[in-house]
Amino acid sequence: MKYLPLILRNLGRKKLRTAFTVLSIFVSFLLFGLLVALRTGFGQGVEVAGLDRLLTVHKVSLIQFLPVKYANFIETVDGVEAVTHWTWFGGYYQEPRNQLTMFATDVDGFLEVFDDYVISEEHKENWRNNRQGLGVGYSVAQRFGWEVGDRVPINTNLWLGDDGKSGWEFDVAAIIGDGEQADGGQLYLHYDYLKEGAGSMGAAMSPGSDELAVIGMIYMKVDDPERASTIIDTIDTQFANSSAETKTSTEKAWAQGFANQVGDLASIVTAIVSVVFFTLLLVAGNTMAQSVRERTSELGVLKTLGFSDGLVMFLVLGEAFFLALLGGLPGLLFANAVTSRLKLGVGFIPDIYIPSRDLMIGVVLVLALGLVTGALPAWRALRLRIIQALSQ
């Protein structure tokens, strides 16, 4: 501790240079934090995916409907415990920029298939008993300040009533999740309410009888994840060569594939962060090298006074660490503060935040930056001969 003032004073020797270097480190770690948060956000769809859940969609495209009778068949497949279905609703709250990820579902089936979601019994009952009831992801409820019992207007350009009106009204019936775990950031309405409310569009979904009704995709819960491949084969074989062939996969694989449509974010983040850190190494390393080179004679004086080679090396290394800490830690903390306030609640990017593990990696990177940028100047300081140093 008694050497701390000496280290800090040396950092303040060229204030402008130090300030710019600290700023560049700050921005780099801010960028690191934001990119990591974004990657985490895109990965959350995968994170919430259950290992024992499978998903069946139309083989041609996600936007193609499937007959509801497919769900009836899947219910009979050996190993399938429960089935539910989702139909894309879309929608936005108040303004088009507040886009929602919203599906119509059969609530009973939903609660069976997604029995790992945290929903109170009271909320489940509310939701079952209210056809206008809406199951809302915790992060979405937080974002808009909704509570159970609130009546919320939601617009959609997809499901218009016969009068052409796009406005729908729902009651917030259940909150899905408690903020502790990722909740998917989605909303779910009753499928029956969709059919009724969508007028002729809804009627077209179920021409004549429910047997001919159509749905978006089918989720199922299986009794044993190890039997998933057999079940997948059974389902896809059953509907092969039909007018609506299917593609079944595990929920996790599907979510991963969806996230990958944006690109391989992990690789992109790694590439950007690598380039940024390489540049940062050059900037901070140059600052440290220049700073030590400028005061070679002063280091010689310290050694003359009895400061050992190791102690002088420690002082130089200490400066490099402080430089990295001064820029890196505030950068990480700022990124954390910014992302913890962002509640996007949009589809597969429900929340973006920096996981504590990545924050720790950030801190390790800060220390590594200090070590790497200080290593060479510190080594030079260690090897410095007094006579040569004093002659400069």
Binding site: K2, G12, G306
Partner: protein, 235 residues
């Protein structure tokens, strides 16, 4: 013990010291079998033309450089046999250096500069502060303790340099051209101070100088020429 009695005990013994440098393929003999005894409490001036080897001799006595041949004993210790690590510790205990260009750290105040050698000791912060205040008082700069080197005159900077050299109460004070960068008046003040340290506090001082007037303040003057010593009578 009087100054006279102290002067009888050699505190520095330099025996047949050789120092050679390699300059490209050429070998330069800077010191050629030089021998010297410095008594405890002595104020020795080393004079000689540039390149004669006087600063090299000072550096060898101070343990800043390695000799090529011979032996050097300071305060009873063979420093030519000491490892770099031992020499570093020894230097912090026994040697105080005063440089021609003061060599203060510009980012530290006068008192922080003076405190530097004490950081290597086990003294508490309060004890260090007390020693620093005493050293600055000795050199007459108590009022300027919070000033940075850039806020001081050359003479004042050199006083801070001397305070830094004496703060840990070293055995030997080595001064390399301490007045070389000062005007006559400031130089005289520095020499007065060194003289007082020698006469009143019994400090052993070896001073390298080009200035005959500065050398006159010493109790003995030696001339170094082409790596060998020639003694001249003092005033």
């Amino acid at each position: 013990m009087t100054t006279q009695e102290q002067a009888a005990e050699p505190i520095v013994r330099v025996e047949n010291v050789h120092k050679t440098y390699k300059r490209g393929s050429e070998v330069v003999d800077v010191l050629q079998g030089l021998s010297l005894d410095v008594a405890d409490g002595e104020f020795l001036a080393l004079m000689g033309p540039s390149g004669s080897g006087k600063t090299t001799l000072l550096n060898l006595i101070g343990g800043l450089d390695r000799l090529s041949e011979g032996r050097i004993e300071v305060a009873g210790e063979r420093i030519d046999r000491a490892s770099d690590r031992q020499l570093t510790k020894w230097r912090s205990r026994h040697i105080g250096f005063v440089f021609q260009f003061y060599n203060l750290l510009p980012v530290l105040t006068a008192e922080r500069n003076v405190e530097l050698p004490l950081l290597l000791t086990k003294l508490s912060r309060a004890q260090r502060r007390k020693h620093v205040a005493t050293a600055l008082e000795v050199v007459g700069l108590s009022e300027r303790s919070k000033h940075y080197p850039r806020q001081l005159s050359g003479g004042q900077e050199q006083r801070v340099g001397i305070a830094r050299a004496i703060v840990s109460d070293p055995t030997l004070l080595l001064c390399d051209e301490p007045t070389g960068d000062l005007d006559r008046k400031s130089g005289d003040e520095i020499l007065d101070l060194l003289e007082a340290l020698n006469q009143e506090q019994g400090k052993t001082i070896i001073m390298v100088t080009h200035d005959p007037l500065a050398a006159e303040r010493a109790t003995r003057t030696l001339h170094v020429d082409k790596g060998v010593l020639t003694e001249t009578p003092t005033h």
